[in-house]
Amino acid sequence: MLKLRCPNCGFVSDETELVNGGEAHLKRFGPGSADEDFEAYLFMRKNPMGVHFERWLHSYGCGKWFHAARCTITQEVFGTYSAQVSRPPSELIAEISEKRPGWSYRDWSGED
């Protein structure tokens, strides 16, 4: 059972109390943007094998959104953090880099 600590209310919740909201830190594109950008925003996901940043909703708890960093192979949760940021906190990135040699945070919003 996946367990995540909600940074809003502080409770550690089972995955059955949570709803996954998909990839975190998407750069949003709306009307008037290029077709490629709009397509990428709607459909192209990172889908990494390893460290993944994602959004979660504490639906059967405080009802608020937050972010989590999780490994998609081992299900190790590196940490959770506020939904009100557009990139993971640098301490969390440093912590994951230490645990996973060779991994580095990749900001996809500047690419493609």
């Binding site: 059972m1 996946l2 089972d14 995955e15 059955t16 709803v19 996954n20 998909g22 077709d35 490629e36 397509e39 990428a40 709607l42 459909f43 192209m44 996901r45 889908n47 990494p48 094998m49 993944h52 994602e54 999780r70 998609t72 192979i73 081992t74 299900q75 493609d112």
Partner: protein, 415 residues
């Protein structure tokens, strides 16, 4: 290749069955092939087979990082049906179902295809309306499906509880020619036929990189050294995104775990396939007597080939309500596979911006039924360099164009 037959079994019995040839060869890779297929699962092997059979392209290598048929081909619940909603889907799934009917004869390998009939239960009024719509669509497509009432459901499947408290059975979508096949045998049958055509199946040989030049794909880097090729087909299901990244591409795919479980073997009690999409469970009985039960997908990206335990509980709880007779059965094994989900729940059979690099993926939770048709369409795409009528609707560009083949209703969770 020596032919399999009742006479062959009798003849080999004289030598205590020591004289059988290996079903396929395991050669060392050459330095170059005309075509390299990544992934020796059902879809990859079928692609190679139809490249040889329909297009006479036989200088083919099929690379597999694990063992042949050890991914989703060996992890599914073996259901074969074609009752989808959209014309484009029905065309490919129905070709596939038809090819299953003659597969054992075509490939001289018993794949135990059993068109025992398949029902999808309508347990809400919304679902009943959805299935009636699909039946109407299917009749326009020339596909024999029907909507049956609860009494007929009970006749076809006596162990079902049709007046359950939470989810009474209001009727069912019925495809009499749907059924199951032996999943491993499908992979083995294609592998044997490919090997017989001189193709190389190379197991335990992971692809670690894709080499590309200005004029398109050049070859792959593998654990057993570089291999050049003219055309490259990637058929790796849940790991498509990883391989796409090697070529500098991104796919509209997310990988999640889908799980299944089997019970202890019992006497015959269920001779149709029953899918209950409202409660996320589907069930059939294998020839060994085990009840094969499929569950739901996890709601998050996952590569661990396990799946969450609470989904097992949900699936089993729901099925016990519909099939009270199974309440004291013990479950023997549970496993998960990594499925590749697209936004419209339809597959991708497509070229890419890199010339001569082709992807066949996105079959999501229901790829097994599509193996022959998928291979047929992918082989045509790779041989000609452009899609035939089967594959054309399933191009990557449909996401940019907003031209979806929406099967989220017909497919649901139980594909």
């Amino acid at each position: 290749m020596s032919r399999y037959s009742a006479f062959a079994i009798a003849a080999k019995a004289l030598n205590r069955h020591t004289g059988w040839d290996r079903a396929w060869a395991s050669p060392e890779p050459r330095r170059r092939y005309d075509v390299v297929i990544v992934g020796a699962g059902g879809h990859g092997l079928a692609t190679a087979y139809y490249l040889g059979k329909n297009h006479n392209i036989r200088d083919v290598a099929i690379l597999e990082k694990g063992w042949l048929g050890g991914g989703n081909t060996g992890r599914n619940t073996t259901i074969v049906r074609s009752g989808y909603l959209q014309d484009d889907s029905v065309a490919i799934y129905e070709l596939s179902r038809r090819l299953y009917e003659t597969m054992s004869q075509d490939l001289n390998f018993n794949v135990m295809f059993s068109p025992r009939g398949l029902m999808m239960l309508a347990q809400t009024h919304h679902e009943a309306r959805g299935y009636k719509r699909t039946v109407n669509a299917n009749s326009l497509q020339g596909l024999a499906t029907e909507f049956i009432g609860p009494r007929r459901v009970k006749e076809l499947c006596p162990i079902i509880e049709i007046s359950g408290p939470r989810f009474p059975v209001l009727g069912a979508f019925w495809q009499a020619r749907g059924g199951t096949a032996r999943h491993d045998a499908v992979a083995w049958a294609y592998a044997r036929a490919c090997s017989d055509m001189g193709m190389h199946i190379i197991q335990r040989c992971a692809v670690t990189g894709i080499r590309r030049g200005a004029d398109g794909v050049r070859g792959v880097e593998t654990e057993k050294g570089p291999i050049d090729c003219e055309k490259l087909g990637v058929v790796v299901a849940g790991h498509s995104g990883i391989v796409a990244e090697m070529a500098g591409l991104r796919l509209p795919i997310e990988s999640v775990a889908l799980q299944a479980l089997v019970s202890e073997p019992v006497k015959p009690c269920l001779d149709v396939v029953v899918m209950a999409n409202t409660v996320h469970g589907y069930i059939s009985q294998s020839d060994k007597g085990e009840l094969v039960i499929g569950g739901g997908t996890d709601g998050f990206n996952n590569y661990s080939q396990r799946g969450s335990f609470h989904h097992v509980e949900e699936t089993v709880r729901a099925l016990v309500e519909t099939f009270p007779i199974i309440s004291r059965l013990k479950m023997l094994r549970q496993w998960g596979g990594i499925v590749d989900m697209t936004g419209d729940r339809s597959p991708i059979i497509s070229g890419t911006p890199v010339r001569n690099l082709f992807f066949n993926c996105g079959w999501g939770t229901g790829g097994f039924k599509a193996i022959p048709g998928s291979g047929w369409a992918m082989a045509e795409l790779m041989a000609k360099g452009e899609p035939g009528s089967l594959a054309a609707p399933f191009g990557l560009e449909r996401f940019r164009e907003g031209r979806f083949i929406d099967e989220s209703v017909a497919a649901g969770v139980a594909h």
